[in-house]
Amino acid sequence: MTTTSQDDARAARRPIRLFRNPMAKIASIPMILTALVVFVGGTAWTVVYSFTDSRLLPRLNFVGLDQYERLWSTRRWLISIENLAIYGICSLILTLLIGFTLAAMLDRKIRGEAVFRSIFLYPFALSFVVTGLAWQWILNPDFGLQEVVRRMGWEGFTFDPLNNPDIVMFGLLIAGLWQGTGLIMCIMLAGLRGIDEDIWKAAKVDGIGTVKTYVRIIIPMMRPVFITALVLIASGIIKLYDLVVAQTNGGPGIASEVPAKYVINYMFRAQNLGQGFAASTMMLVSVIIILVPWAYLEFGGKKRD
């Protein structure tokens, strides 16, 4: 036993877990720092200050739930939430639907696939600011779509979403879908390309119709694709801000306000940081309620076999 070599002794000792594969950990430091300092730290900071009466500058003068009580009795906030819900649900469903349908059409060995694909994808290259401006211009009642249709003979034609509080969110939706569906189409297309051709043969042999094959067989097989798409769409919806600012600036009135805009306005324009932080905390809480169980299942629960 005394003759055990130095090497042997080192290898025999169980190393401290923290120092196993040190390079992997060192290389992960940026990620860990980002996750802990920026995301957790920044979030915690925001949450803490949401319980204060901070105005222009953050200060730790706690006022309990005052900011939240005020938030939930503010009409603009309630409208913002409602608007985001409307926009979010429509956008989620329509983006998936349009994205998938376009991808399915492009996947049918058509001619000029590359051309169509580029056409559907290019709006994604443009920022929301540009998107908002372009559609504001097209939907302008005096020069745009409404006027063109009227000149074509339908005198009574009215389509002025940006100045009609009831449908302004749909005006935003038209622009949002234009910008975002291309990427989802691309992801769906990639997913469809990953489906084994034999599946189609099997479906054909079984006499299952095309649509039914998509709905009953292909879509369930594309679960990971839909999850990626869902993450992208949902994260975009919550962040909805630039488009609104560029296209309607919350108007007419406060009919197209969204939560992110409320946060910014109260942090910087109203100089009521506490209120802005309370609003962003509410946004975070809703994100976390929806996401954490899912993220845990998706990324946390898996183990190597």
């Binding site: 500058l57 600036n249 007419p252 009919a255 942090m267 324009r269 109203a270």
Partner: protein, 410 residues
């Protein structure tokens, strides 16, 4: 790729060379409309011409809403600009408390600001615990209505001389396809119109009770009921106006598409740029022609604390320059606002400015809302007004909500 680095290197080299002699002073502001930009150019020219320093223009378009987060973030982040526009009043208080803004008291005393600046309330707004932290550059008043001669001529009408006549003439304008009241669809513009109508309809005393003393009972009273009904009427007159920016609304008045616009005196800069003459092409009525009184809000420049001694020197020189008589004249003529000094000759000013000067001289002035209500309360009122003007919200309900805001105002 080479060129990128080359240009970058030469760029830094230039900066380095220049800073040994004079400072480059970055000035942020949100004056980007035609009249405003022309006015800023007066400042920049004077600064570049009369000092050895250079004015680096940091204009941020899109009104204070876009610019303010940027300005405040940079001051708080420890990377401030040399000077910045901010509405004076309560906006800067906390920055001063945190020691982030430069004390200008020495310059103010040397230049005798206490004496020359009129009305004194302007300097009071810059004063915090006895020290002066900003240089006021102009007086703005919001209580104006601008009437288009072209529009009324086209409808075969006399140009009205007060709000009531204007309301009476509105149906005829509409029959002639003219929008009676141009209104930009932004909360602050709608709030401005509300404030102006309040002073005209409810009178100064009621206004003061509510806006200065935050008396919710008066806000719930009959004077304000009349105000909200008048605004509800005005809302109908502005139904067909769907522009966003204030100067686009002004442009509707200039081109005769709209009969009138309720807007601050800065609208005058737009008429001037368009080559219109007060009294011939357009008419301005302070206090809507009913109550000839104006508030004395205005713009001011603040100077964040910086370490560089040359920049500090440049800051003080700019502060001095901004209030100096010649610059005050050239700037305010371009911008259409009133100068902050009572001791300068503005005989070259046009009809509207002269009206303003007379009212100012007569002392019919009100403190600006910026100085009375916090930005928070103002934002809440703006939100309410945005909703009120562009929906069918009944006047009574809007008033009730207004009362709530005043009751909890600070």
């Amino acid at each position: 790729m080479n060129t990128v680095w080359k240009s970058l290197l030469t760029g830094t080299a230039l900066v380095a060379a220049a800073s040994t002699q004079a400072a480059e002073l970055e000035v942020t502001h949100w004056w980007t409309s035609g009249g405003e930009a022309a006015a800023v150019a007066e400042f920049a020219d004077a600064f570049n011409g009369q000092t050895e320093h250079t004015w680096v223009d940091g204009a941020i378009a899109g009104s204070g809403g876009t610019a303010r987060p940027i300005i405040i973030s940079r001051i708080i982040g420890g990377d401030p600009m040399g000077a910045t526009q901010l509405n004076h009043g309560r906006q800067a208080e906390e920055l001063i408390e945190a020691g982030l803004l430069t004390d200008l008291t020495d310059v103010a005393e040397a230049q005798n600001w206490r004496e020359v600046i009129n009305p004194p309330s302007l300097l009071d707004a810059c004063t915090y615990e006895g020290r002066i932290y900003c240089a006021p550059v102009n007086i703005h008043s919001a209580q104006w209505i601008w009437l288009s001669h072209g529009a009324f001529d086209a409808a075969g009408l006399e140009v009205p001389s007060d709000w009531n006549e204007f309301v009476a003439a509105a149906p005829t304008l509409m029959e002639n396809g003219i929008v009676p009241l141009a209104m930009g669809q932004q909360g602050w513009q709608q709030n401005l119109a509300f404030g102006t109508i309040t002073i005209a309809v409810a009178g100064i005393d009621a206004w003061r009770e509510v806006s200065v003393n935050r008396n919710a009972e008066v806000a719930a009273g009959p004077e304000y009921t009349a105000v909200f009904e008048a605004v509800a009427d005005a809302r109908e007159l502005a139904r067909d106006s769907n522009v966003q920016d204030w100067n686009l609304a002004t442009n509707m008045v200039i081109t005769g598409q709209a009969g009138a616009q309720i807007m601050g005196d800065w609208a005058q800069g737009e008429f001037q740029i368009a080559g219109q003459v007060a009294g011939e092409d357009y008419t301005c009525l302070p206090g809507l022609g009913l109550n000839e009184i104006i508030d004395t809000g205005g713009d001011a420049f603040y100077f964040p604390v910086v370490e560089d001694a040359e920049v500090q020197a440049a800051q003080l020189e700019l502060a001095e320059l901004l209030v100096s008589p010649e610059v005050q004249v050239s700037f305010n003529l371009a911008k259409g606002s009133l100068p902050v000094r009572g001791d300068i000759d503005l005989s070259t000013a046009n009809d509207c400015m002269q009206k303003g000067l007379e009212i100012l001289a007569a002392g019919n002035v009100l403190p600006s809302g910026d100085m009375n209500l916090s930005a928070d309360t103002q934002t809440q009122i703006e939100d309410l007004m945005a909703e009120f003007w562009s929906s069918d919200l009944p006047a009574a309900e809007a008033q009730a909500r207004y009362v709530d805001i005043i009751a909890s105002a600070d």
